[in-house]
């Protein structure tokens, strides 16, 4: 069994309550941080831990904290990004549902480190049940003196509030989130200035993902160096992976970074293999925005070495043969899934969620959705595949925020690795409506079952 830092006590009955959470060692990090460490020392521990942002970008959290401007007499804010909306990702929802105090404890320690007196947890509006859970937990913590005025007699004051979103994927982008928190449409801001200089209400602000903030708790308890011993290379610590799609045991797993992808998919400790005895066709390893990979490239690098669940190994080979860690939203496709249909589905998602600020994204996402709809429904032409390639290339890198890239990459990677499946849809407009393309040569010969011939 690998080490668990965040989900160690997930199965303890009542761990969602303050009492049980305390019995399991909860809020030790707050005591240690507020009574024995300075804010600078906490930032230093987080830097030493090598913790990288768990929301998707993978930027070192300690470094992000050290960029925070500290002008005299100006409020500073910590905002937790709990707008989890990346398709394939549901780890933050899981954490907030079952161990809400882990997030609250992390928020207190992190707010203290950053000098924030008021902090917000921005939760996507659809998660009303989680909002109620967090509000209850915050009330418990406040009643017990972990929040409010003069926490533990140290003179440190902190108020923590939960803010609901309104149902917009774009608010997961940190500047759109801040706009939304200010009561506006979630249109991302042009950077610079970065939130560390001018964020919420124009004040210096740090925005961190739920899992990143929760990870600060074990980092303070055990020390940054201990945390950095877990994992591999620059991918330190543990990571929550949301596993979905055609798996025997989908769900949220805490892994030590560096676990072989093959072990994650097939071992009984994790996903237990592909559901219904089928074979793996493809995966999206880090949430819908990252490139889709065929089974063979999922399990092995281009040079034949095993691919690992780490920031570096997943991106090994660039976009030609690799993908990204992203948010850790691991989606598995079995042999009966259609790549064209899924790409169309994702394109519809990005079209729906584009905020409309930048024309390449506003127009391009809708255009890609239409072309993909055509191909999927048997009305496509060969030029459409090239057209799709051309559109995605013109969106990528040409927008204010990364939603444009996120919309372009799934399309680009699907064409890069599965072009023959697109062409088959076009050449076989009738057949493609009745059956799917199947596995072709994508499956790694790892599974015992023979590759079925197309009917």
């Amino acid at each position: 069994m690998s080490r668990k830092l965040l989900l160690e006590h997930i199965n303890v009955p009542g761990i969602n309550t303050l009492d049980v959470y305390r019995q399991k060692g909860g809020y030790r990090a707050v005591e240690k941080a507020l009574k024995t460490l300075t804010p600078e020392e906490i930032v230093e521990e987080v830097k030493k831990s090598g913790l990288r942002g768990r929301g998707g970008a993978g930027f070192p959290t300690g470094m992000k904290w050290s960029f925070l401007a500290k002008p005299e007499g100006v409020a500073r804010y910590l905002v937790c990004n709990a707008d989890e909306s990346e398709p394939g990702t549901f780890k933050d929802r899981y954490l907030m549902t079952y161990i809400p105090h882990a997030l609250i404890e992390g928020m207190i320690v992190s707010s203290f480190a950053l000098g924030a007196k008021v902090s917000y947890i921005y939760v996507r509006g659809e998660m009303m049940p989680q909002i109620r859970i967090l509000e209850k937990a915050i009330a418990e913590a406040k009643a017990a003196g972990w929040l409010g005025k003069n926490i533990l007699g140290t003179g440190y004051d902190l108020e923590l509030y939960v803010q609901p979103g309104g149902g917009a994927y774009i608010c997961g982008e940190e500047t759109a989130l801040l706009e939304s928190l200010e009561g506006k449409r979630g249109n991302p801001r042009i950077k610079p200035p970065f939130p560390a200089i001018a964020g919420l209400y124009g004040c210096p602000t740090v925005v961190n993902n739920v899992e990143s903030i929760a990870a600060v708790v074990p980092i303070i308890n055990d020390g940054g160096e201990e945390y950095a011993k877990i994992g591999i290379g620059r991918s330190t610590g543990t990571k929550l992976i949301s596993a979905s799609g055609n798996l025997v045991k989908p769900g949220v797993y805490e892994i030590e970074l560096g676990l072989p992808v093959e072990e994650f998919i097939y071992s009984d400790e994790y996903c237990g293999g592909i559901a219904n005895g089928k074979r793996l066709k493809a995966t999206v390893a880090g949430g819908s925005s990252v490139p889709v990979l065929p089974a063979n490239l999922t399990l092995k690098l281009a040079n034949g070495e095993p691919r690992l669940m780490s920031y570096e190994s997943l991106s090994e080979g660039g976009f030609a043969t690799g993908t990204m860690m992203g948010s850790g939203g691991f989606i598995a496709f079995d042999e009966d899934q259609c790549i064209v249909r899924n790409t169309w589905n994702f394109s519809r998602f990005y079209h729906h969620e584009s905020c409309g600020q930048c024309s390449p994204c506003r127009e391009g996402t809708g255009w890609m959705e239409k072309v993909l709809h055509k191909i999927e429904h048997g009305h496509g032409s060969m030029e459409d595949v090239d057209l799709l390639w051309d559109i995605q290339r013109k969106i990528e890198g040409n927008t204010i925020c990364p939603l444009g890239d996120a919309a372009a990459w799934p399309v680009a990677s699907a064409i890069r690795h599965f072009r023959d499946e697109f062409e088959w849809h076009i050449k076989e407009p009738v057949k493609s409506q009745q059956q799917n393309y199947g596995l072709a040569y994508y499956a790694n010969p790892i599974e015992k079952a023979p590759v079925t011939e197309e009917k």
Binding site: V118, G165, G166, G167, A168, G183, G186, G251
Partner: protein, 170 residues
Amino acid sequence: MLKVEEQTPVVFSSELLAKFDDVKSRYPEGKHKSALLPLLHLVQAEYLWVSTHAMDRVAEYLNIQPIEVYEVATFYTMYFLKPQGKYALEVCRTGPCCLVGAEKILDHLESKLGVKEGEVTADGLFSFRGVECLAACGFGPVLQISPDYTFYENLTTESVDKLIEDLKNK
């Protein structure tokens, strides 16, 4: 959106206004516009949708222009700009849920309820729509029911039938 003249004027109850005051107290002096999204959720929980009249009252309460409320209410997908069923069912229709049968659930709801997506059943009880990822991909297909957003996972056509019967008899 319904035309303004088709809507009933709205007066917020003192209980609702007390909730508004509580939300408004979370933000620094002069930054009360931050309360807008939570306030619209409170309005929707009370009236099951957000009418133009209600938006105007929210604007008055926050001392901002009505357009500042309209632009927000129309940007975010959770706010219903026309009346819905008492139980508004929202089924996730994004990739991972579709891998495990979300499209079947949507088709089933359409035939079970006898209305198309976005329409309300004759008895006023139900409406449904497909929505984008609800962050429960490992437990799909999933649906949620507003206004309190109770959540149902691992749906089958049978479990959906049972859910609808249960709601009818509630």
